[in-house]
Amino acid sequence: MKITFKVNGEPVTMDVKPNELLINVLRDKLKLTGTKYVCGIGECGACTVLLDGEPILSCLTLAVDVNGREVTTIEGISKGDELSEVQEAFVEEGAIQCGYCIPGFIIMGEYLLRIKQKPTEDEIKEYLRGNLCRCTGYVNIIKAIKKASELKISKTK
């Protein structure tokens, strides 16, 4: 099947099988390897990408379902080399260890801060509870989201 969609602002057209998963299209065909495959069954959030601005699990999404829509992956978050506030805060707060879970967390962080400018700690946990990290103990990830929120607010002032 032929599908056309936008990835990180760029239009792409390709042939996909009806059962082909979005994550395989992103990683293998488009070489956007920032998105990680960890469990394949919707338990870890590492494969999260934005579809028309909403987070989805690319390991459970069929490629055909993104036809005509817009996908944003971790590679589309920064503006060139300029980090987004969320990315910057993750670096500064020591929220990154092995890094395998990080693209998923950053995508969720971007989404959360777009819908809630200043989330409470409880809201942060509520939105990120579907993302697993085995390295950091989540402490600095929470700090990073809070910091990113501050950075964003100070920039819009």
Partner: protein
């Protein structure tokens, strides 16, 4: 490979400002050639760094009082590419022409392999070949401590999940289908899952050649335990049980092998010790080690698991690539990862300890039994570590300890953060609480009466001469956590509360630095200064999330050479770097960093000496900082780093150095388990507060207070990250993680739905760690290991807190709601 991906930001040369304004320097450069040469020779003759031993260089930096970057929370350099999503892990190097490898696993726990029929698999189009033990050109032996383990099963299988064959096909689907078509004929043998039964039986032997199911024994004999117990006014005796834990690194095991790159078999893989993976692969292929190259890119978590399984994944991919002459790729599915790879030890510990009325420990008598599973792997080391730590960080005059690593037909035991020590410290610390209770003493007060200090002897009779900050750590922790107040307050709270009970507990632990069993340990690194002044560091230490090559190694170089972190490239994790030992045992910074320090210190001596001659001051008066060599009390007089490097090149000063250091160790007598066990110990104490819902059995951890005596803290942010991560991984182990085995020893929950790890919703508040910087004489700036530390006392501290909350004896893990209700007598156990 990946190490090379993060080039210096932009063009280095544009970032270094040339400083030629120092007039003395200009004048010096104008001297005529003859004088110049003579001066050079004279100056060179005063160079003495060949006579400066590494110990001297290490101790010089141990005494430093002020630092440029050491002790500061510098961001790790790999965070940037990891945040951008450009950091490359093994799977990201996958090439479309690579063959996919799928593993054929044994469904039998113990059986003779009668036949392997691969014809059906080979009929599937796209299947290149099927490999079994008989295809291995070299030696089919990958046992780590004992020669008991094949890479591919030979003659018989010993656990459900053992790898019998490898299928290689042009794509994943075909490999998967073909693996299902491989027909293996098994003749089942009686199997044993219980280590106690395995110890007793000789009619069923898991390894016939061993003559028994006991793979390895350890012992400690110190003093006279009979006398010790006769002097004891209180005695406590219990049997403890701990369970397996899976690492659940987010990235499963993976390796990509390229058959002929640079005339070598090159393997990119998620590995913790590239040189070990290389040696194992070479042995399996029957070729010299120097004809195998291993590159370890970023690794999505290791925790010990990829120290064991990483080299095996590498060898499997290497085998297929070598025999097919095509690139070959193996990626374990989550299910395969959980079923195949080794686990944290499941232990049975019988512990008897006694103390006199004055609160002094008099004797311990301990039996440690590890359910080693199908293969010994590292269990001799894990058991040895458990045995030599069996007293906890306390002085005990009389000890009798026996350890047994026992074969069973289950997934085998392996390395996991804490390495045998979390289970034994759990037993020790439960005993300590109960002894204190019988003595009517406060648990912390009782511990402090027995705590190790400089000048005291360990359970192996080793004199601790320095770096023992555990007493101070416990005292400070008692203060900041307000231990005493809460201890009393929770008693009142629990009287008034029917459903919810609160408790506070402490776990204190120690962990020997460096390898166990007296195995030689060393550090090695190669550092070179490039023409433009940038610095390249080569190390075999890998980046598995801990960040040593991407933070502390860089800090060490910046501290010694005064260069900016942007100009330091650490090429890590490859066999083309010197063998720095494994990235395990919390040794990435504490041991791996020594080589970097020694090499950088050698270069520094040479350049400081040159700068002194250029600036006309003595070397003691030269400071390297801000990319300059400047005069100590007159920063206006300086040579820029870049010019200093240029000058060094023109004068024949060697700008590269290896930093090799062999860690001194003492004698150990295995027949009595006495002698030198480790060069030093890291210490940790954790106080935790819990609330238990006695209706549901749910344990909630409210707050955790860590105190660390791990020598110099080179990067507080990284250390905190390690502590927090280990606390949560340890909490997961104690409260929720559990592998379920069926009657064949098959793991029934090999996925992230049924094997549950902590989410962001489960975490407690974690206080900033208290640090006691009890410097270690051989560590870089006195650093000891940190990575494993906070996991070690988690079973101890949480079970003590739960016991305190409920007024019950906790002897078994995990503390799942079901098991808590059993403890409360609400469901039958």
């Amino acid at each position: 490979m990946c190490g090379l991906r993060e080039a210096l930001p932009e063009d280095v040369t544009s970032l270094i400002t040339l400083t030629l304004s120092f007039s003395g320097f200009e004048v010096f450069k104008l001297k005529d050639l003859l004088i110049y040469s003579c001066l050079s020779l004279l100056w060179l003759s005063t160079m003495s760094d060949t006579s400066v031993g590494p110990e001297h260089l290490i101790s010089k930096w141990l005494e430093a009082k002020e630092f440029l970057v050491v002790g500061k929370s510098v961001s790790r350099i790999d965070a940037l590419s990891k945040a951008l999503g450009t950091a490359k892990y093994t799977e990201d190097y996958l090439m479309s022409e690579a063959l996919f490898i799928k593993q054929v696993l044994s469904p039998e726990p113990h059986a003779i392999i009668k036949s392997v029929d691969v014809s059906g698999a080979l009929r599937i189009p796209g299947v290149a070949r099927v490999f079994t033990a008989s295809d291995i050109p070299g030696i089919n032996q990958v046992g780590y401590a004992l020669p008991d383990q094949p890479l591919l099963a030979e003659r018989k299988v010993r656990y459900v999940g053992e790898v019998v064959a490898l299928v290689a096909a042009s794509d994943y689907e075909k490999a998967l289908r073909a693996a299902e078509e491989v027909r293996v004929g098994y003749e089942p043998l009686p199997h044993i899952l219980d280590p106690l039964e395995a110890m007793e039986r000789s009619d069923v032997l898991i390894h016939e050649e061993a003559g028994s199911n006991i793979a390895f024994r350890t012992k400690v004999r110190k003093g006279d335990v009979v006398e010790g117990f006769s002097k004891s006014d209180v005695i406590v005796e219990n049997e403890y049980r701990t369970h397996h834990q899976d690492h659940i690194y987010l990235e499963t095991e993976a390796a990509l092998a390229i058959p002929d790159m640079e005339g070598r078999v090159t393997i990119i893989g998620g590995i913790q010790y590239p040189h070990l993976a290389r040696d194992i692969t070479a042995k399996v292929l029957g070729i010299p080690s120097s004809f195998v190259k291993v590159v370890v890119p970023y690794v999505g978590g290791g925790f010990g698991g990829k120290d064991d399984e990483g080299p095996l994944a590498a060898a499997k991919a290497g085998l297929v690539a070598y025999l097919t002459k095509k690139p070959a790729f193996i990626l374990y599915s989550r299910e395969e990862s959980i079923i195949i790879h080794p686990k944290r030890e499941a232990a049975i510990i019988r512990y008897k300890s006694g103390a006199s009325g004055d609160g002094k420990l008099q004797a311990i008598e301990v039996t440690i039994i590890h359910d080693t599973g199908a293969y010994a792997n590292r269990s001799p080391f894990i058991l040895w570590r458990a045995t030599m730590h069996s007293s906890g960080p306390y002085e005990v005059p009389n000890a009798r300890v026996d350890g047994y690593a026992v074969y069973t037909n289950k997934v085998y035991e392996g390395s996991f953060r804490a390495f045998g020590n979390a289970s034994i410290q759990f037993a020790v610390e439960r005993q300590m609480d109960q002894l204190a209770d019988k003595l009517g003493m406060d648990p912390i007060e009782f511990r402090l009466k027995n705590i190790l200090e400089p000048g005291k002897y360990t359970v192996t009779g080793q004199l601790l001469d320095h770096s023992v900050g555990v007493g101070d750590a416990v005292r400070k922790l008692a203060e900041v956590s307000e231990w005493r107040r809460k201890y009393e307050e929770y008693k009142k709270f629990n009287k008034a509360s029917d459903r919810f009970k609160r408790g506070i507990g402490i776990g204190v632990a120690w962990h020997g630095i460096s390898t166990s069993r007296g195995v030689p340990d060393w550090s090695n690194s190669y550092v070179k200064i490039e023409k433009d002044g940038s610095v390249t560091v080569f190390t075999g230490i890998t980046e598995i999330g801990q960040g040593s090559p991407t933070s502390s190694h860089i800090q060490i170089v910046c501290e010694l050479l005064g260069v900016s972190p942007n100009h330091v490239k650490v090429v890590f994790g490859g066999t083309d770097a010197p063998d720095a030992g494994a990235t395990h045992a919390s040794r990435g910074t504490s041991i791996g960093g020594i080589g970097v320090l020694v090499a950088a210190a050698k270069l520094r001596e040479r350049l400081v000496s040159l700068a002194a001659s250029m600036l006309n001051v003595s070397p003691e008066d030269v400071v390297l900082r801000d990319e300059k060599a400047q005069v100590k009390n007159d920063p206006t007089r300086y040579v820029s780093w870049k010019d200093l490097v240029k000058e060094a090149m023109s004068r024949g000063v060697e700008l590269s150095a290896t930093g090799y250091f062999f860690l001194p160790k003492g004698k150990f007598d295995d027949t009595v388990g006495q002698g030198f066990a480790y060069p030093a110990y890291s210490y940790i104490a954790i106080v935790s507060e819990v609330e238990v819902d006695t209706w549901t059995g749910q344990v909630r951890v409210l707050k955790v207070w860590p105190a660390l005596a791990a020598g110099r803290i080179i990067n507080p942010q990284q250390v905190e990250g390690q502590v927090e991560g280990a606390v949560v991984q340890g909490m997961g182990y104690v409260l929720m993680e559990q592998l379920i085995f069926d009657e064949k020893g098959r793991i029934l929950n090999p996925d992230l739905t049924d094997y549950v790890i902590p989410t962001i919703r489960d975490i407690p508040e974690i206080a900033k760690p208290v640090y006691v910087e009890d410097v270690f004489k051989y560590g870089p700036f006195g650093a000891k290991g940190v990575g494993e530390m906070a996991l070690i006392p988690m079973p101890a501290t949480l079970s003590n807190a739960v016991a305190n909350a409920l007024g019950v004896n906790v002897t078994r893990l995990p503390l799942t709601p079901e098991n808590i209700l059993k403890l409360l007598g609400k469901v039958r156990g």
